[in-house]
């Protein structure tokens, strides 16, 4: 290759030389200085041309060199390492980014509703009863539409409220704050709530196992154990479940009209409560809950400022075969109440123009209810309730009632109940029929207290 190049250079130089000599011949007529200068210029031109030629030759040499070299093996394209060999963290990061890319639109949509995400859980209970009584005849009773809301307030407390709409108007059944992080197993509840007296007294009407609240609870407590006040609850730090409650309230009982909820009072006119409950596990399938309650009011204004004692004991036996707990079982619930207070001889006058009574006497009264309910399937729960309640004034005899009932659950949130009651009261004997239709919409938690 090199020899070809040299030959080309020599040939080129010869050609140029010939040309130089050919040009020199006609110039022999010029003067010698002018010829020398001309010759010098030509020489410079030739040198320049030579340089250009050499450059060209070099470029051609490079091109030939490139073409004559055998083809190099193709550069291997980098093959991606198998995922197993990849850096684990990088892979995780990639997956994370991929997922984030996918869910970004949903996140964006969700963030638009962010302010509402702190809204409390909301549920509504609708309770209707068709009733027929021998004396009162028939009626469709819209009993309640009870709106329940609940949420955490902060790391230290939660709150809940149950607002009931009924033919009597709108009423706050409960609106309470409950601490969540007190030490030593303590919780404090304040506001309006169902006081921890007995068992069925703190069930809402729609959550009762029967259509109507047992007579003894209506008569001795005043319906639901609703109270404005404060409660402290303590669970003993032992393996045996024992819960203790102490409470202080304006009064006890939603329909207890003998004490005002709004008029300020002395400390002696509040109602004070103590409640203890425990649980005895007889076996995996059999258990008993036992509770004792005591409510003490040092002075009842309209009763000559006399004290009132209300005590109760509740026992609930459950047979729930664990493997069939959803559709088999038996519950027997009994509650006995004892009331002791001064009462006017002959009772309170119903006529407001009559002067208030002055002659009082201490009275004891006793009452109970007992019900037995079986679970025959997930849907069918038949039961029987027995009621017995003495008159608080002991002016008339006791009231008794016998109520067989059948509850049918289309689903966990939907219930139909048929109940017959034979009422045996001092002034009346009556057949009563009820058909209750209850449903829950929205949020619903299986509460521990409503077991």
């Amino acid at each position: 290759m090199r020899s070809i190049t040299q030959a080309l250079i020599v040939g080129t130089v010869c050609l140029f030389s010939t040309q130089v000599f050919a040009q020199g011949t006609p110039g022999q007529t010029r003067t010698p200085d002018a010829s020398a200068q001309q010759l010098r210029r030509d020489l410079e031109t030739m040198k320049e041309q030579m340089r250009q030629m050499q450059d060209k030759i070099r470029q051609q040499e490079e091109a030939i060199e490139k073409l004559s070299t055998p083809a190099a093996p193709p550069v291997p394209t980098p093959v991606p390492a198998p995922p197993a060999a990849r850096d684990r963290e990088q892979l995780k990061q990639e997956v994370r980014e991929e997922v984030l890319r996918d869910i970004q639109p949903q996140l964006a949509a969700a963030s638009k509703t962010f302010p509402s995400q702190f809204n409390p859980a909301i549920g509504l209970v609708i309770d209707n009863v068709f009733s027929y009584r021998d004396h009162d005849r028939a009626n469709f009773d819209f009993r309640t539409a009870e709106l329940g809301i609940a949420a955490s307030i902060d790391p230290f407390a939660r709150g809940y409220a149950l607002i009931s709409g009924s033919p009597d108007g709108l009423e706050v059944e409960e609106a309470a704050l409950v601490t969540t992080s007190l030490p030593y197993n303590l919780t404090v509840k304040g506001g309006r709530f169902f006081a921890d007296f007995g068992r069925l007294a703190h069930f809402h009407d729609d959550a009762l196992p029967v259509v109507n609240r047992p007579i003894v609870l209506d008569r001795f407590i005043g319906g639901e154990s609703r109270a404005n006040g404060i409660e402290v609850n303590y669970i003993l730090p032992i393996e045996q479940y024992v819960a203790l409650t102490a409470g202080m309230y304006n009064k006890l009982g939603a329909e207890n009209d003998r004490v005002s909820d709004t008029v300020p009072r002395g400390l002696g006119e509040f109602t004070y409560l103590g409640h203890a409950v425990t649980f005895i596990n007889l076996s995996d399938d059999h258990s008993v809950d036992v509770g004792v309650s005591y409510a003490y009011t040092p002075k009842i204004k309209i009763d000559q400022r006399a004290e009132r004692h209300l005590a109760g004991i509740d026992i609930t036996y459950r047979y729930l075969p664990l493997s069939q707990a959803g559709y088999r079982g038996l519950v027997w619930g009994t509650e006995l109440l004892f009331n002791n207070e001064k009462r006017p001889i002959g009772g309170f006058p119903t006529d407001p123009t009559v002067p208030p009574p002055t002659d009082f006497r201490r009275r004891d009264a006793f009452g109970l209810y007992s019900y037995l309910e079986a679970r025959l399937s997930r849907r069918v729960y038949p039961g029987f309730l027995f009621d017995y309640a003495q008159d608080i004034d002991r002016a008339v005899g006791a009231t008794k009632a016998y109520s067989p009932y059948l509850t049918f659950w289309p689903s966990e949130f939907h219930r139909l109940r048929l109940q017959y009651t034979y009422l045996d009261a001092p002034d009346t004997h009556e057949n009563q029929f009820f058909l209750q239709w209850t449903a829950i919409l929205g949020s619903h938690i299986h509460g521990f207290r409503d077991r």
């Binding site: 969540t180 992080s181 007190l182 030593y184 197993n185 303590l186 919780t187 669970i235 003993l236 730090p237 032992i238 393996e239 045996q240 479940y241 819960a243 409950v277 425990t278 649980f279 596990n281 995996d284 258990s287 809950d289 459950r318 729930l320 664990l322 493997s323 069939q324 707990a325 959803g326 559709y327 399937s377 997930r378 849907r379 289309p410 689903s411 966990e412 949130f413 938690i445 299986h446 509460g447 521990f448 207290r449 077991r451």
Partner: protein
């Protein structure tokens, strides 16, 4: 009266002293025996483990016993299967257990579904569709591969709370996973005849099991999850079974026997009864024997053994 008050106060102080006393072992409460068994394998003697359910219950209807409150009140760790499967009892118990260590979103609250990709995640939440689980079907423990994921979640949760024992937990996990891996390989081989088999069950408990072993769940006796069937639903289900040649009815053992037996009888299908948790039958002593029992029983049903 004064004496009574003094005695009461002394008892209370004694109880408070007991309450604050430290115990050597870590108190773990598991909602189901499957998790208790995994924790036993992973934590060994470091843990004192109690399970709320015994294994024979319907996980959606575990009776809320006050004795559970006492257990949860004293627990250091709560292991739960998650995906809201414990909705029937855990939220209610939380209301009264007053133990800040195991409340939701605390380190002591160990949700064992975190490494699982749920199936049947609803696209619409509506009670008309039954007792829905918004995050997907929660019966993950019937798939042994997800059993491994649950064991990993138990380990990570324990290590998060007790980093001083992390090495022990991880070492025990590795051993446990080896056991599970060997069993899974065997099960995959043994369960080959189950591949492609269609069945109906009482409740959608077996979705993950079916997915793992190639079976196909085509319907439930329940009208919707948690809702008992109507006569019309049973008629339609039986017609479908005849039409599609479905020859297997699975009754989870906590559901009533009568209806499942009747359906099997009327359609000429084989009835298989399965536990859904460790302890559901005496043979299911631990997680491995539980899955083992289910595969053997299912094979008997399919092969007519």
């Amino acid at each position: 009266m004064k004496r009574f008050v003094l005695v009461s106060l002394s008892v209370m102080l004694l109880l408070l002293a007991c309450h604050t006393g430290a115990d050597a072992k870590i108190r773990v409460v598991a909602t189901i025996p499957d998790l208790a068994d995994m924790a036993r394998n992973i934590g060994g003697d470091l843990l004192e483990i109690k399970s709320l359910a015994t294994g024979i219950e319907d996980i959606h209807a575990v009776p809320m016993k006050p004795s559970f409150v006492a257990l949860l009140n004293r627990a250091d760790i709560l292991l739960l299967m998650g995906l809201e499967v414990e909705h029937a009892f855990l939220p209610g118990l939380f209301e009264v257990a007053r133990n800040p260590k195991i409340q939701r979103d605390t380190p002591g609250y160990i949700d064992c579904s975190v490494y699982v990709t749920p199936l049947e995640v609803p696209t619409r939440i509506d009670r008309a569709l039954g007792d829905q689980h918004p995050r997907g079907n929660p019966h993950i423990n019937l798939d042994p591969v997800y059993g491994k994921a649950m064991a990993r979640a138990v380990t990570d949760g324990l290590a998060r709370n007790y980093p001083e024992h992390e090495a022990t937990f991880k070492k025990n996990l590795a051993t446990y996973l080896q056991t599970l891996d060997a069993a899974i390989a065997r099960w995959q081989h043994e369960a080959a005849p189950l591949r492609g088999v269609k069945f109906i069950s009482y409740h959608p408990d077996l979705i993950y099991f079916a997915e793992r072993f190639g079976m196909e769940s085509v319907g439930t006796i329940e009208l919707r999850p948690g809702v008992d069937p109507t006569p019309g639903h049973i008629v339609a289900l039986e017609e479908r079974m005849r039409r599609e040649g479905i020859k297997l009815v699975v009754r989870e053992r906590h559901y009533p026997a009568g209806l499942a037996e009747t359906i099997a009888q009327r359609t000429g299908a084989k009835l298989v009864e399965l536990p859904v948790m460790v302890g559901g039958v005496p043979e299911a002593r631990d997680y491995v024997s539980f899955i083992d029992y289910n595969i053997r029983t299912m094979l008997k049903g399919v092969q007519g053994g």
